[in-house]
Subunit: 112 residues, 2 copies
């Protein structure tokens, strides 16, 4: 998608990628909410979670695997970290392209 | 695990399950942080995310699929919802048995 910031970053800003493979890439959130705040972003322009989509299920499990690896790399694996997918308005989804947040490096706030 | 509250709820409190299959069940959080606050809990006593565990990857994608279905059932699919996995101390993980939070029904707070 030409007008999607995450599609653009995936295609053109490889220098900002902490990790990259053929299915996803990882960047730091530009407005971090914690000392570690990474975004695991699929290269495919997926806008929302769709139940019972086998291809998406495989993609999601890959994103979580990469998130867990990045938590180790950032050394928040022992202290703890939070994985978040924001979906839609009430969640404050900032970019309309599915992404997984990895937060850690401080005591994170309550969920509600 | 005999001393794990989620293992116990999975085995004995079927009346509290909003959804149930052979791999997971869904309950309402006893101390909800939002009007909709569900927990999608694997029946297997998994304590933490482990990268590169193919069986766990399949399980995680199933949990997310069920979470998305429950968001529809709770009618927060259009207004938006947040999926969260808390891992360890800094995330405030409350029960040492992997689980996925589904939050919705109000404007959710910032991540940090």
């Amino acid at each position: 998608m030409d007008d999607c910031i995450f599609c653009q970053i995936g295609q053109t800003q490889a220098d900002t990628h902490l990790y990259s493979d053929e299915r996803c890439f990882v960047i730091r959130d530009i407005a971090p909410s914690a000392p570690t705040h990474l975004l695991v972003i699929p290269r495919q322009h997926v806008t929302s979670l769709q139940a019972a989509d086998p291809a998406q299920e495989v993609l999601l499990s890959h994103l979580i695997t990469i998130a867990e690896q990045m938590a180790r790399q950032e050394q928040v694996h022992q202290s703890g970290y939070r994985l978040v997918i924001n979906q839609g308005r009430d969640a404050g989804q900032g970019v309309d392209h599915l992404h997984l947040h990895v937060l850690g490096g401080k005591q994170l706030p309550p969920l509600g």
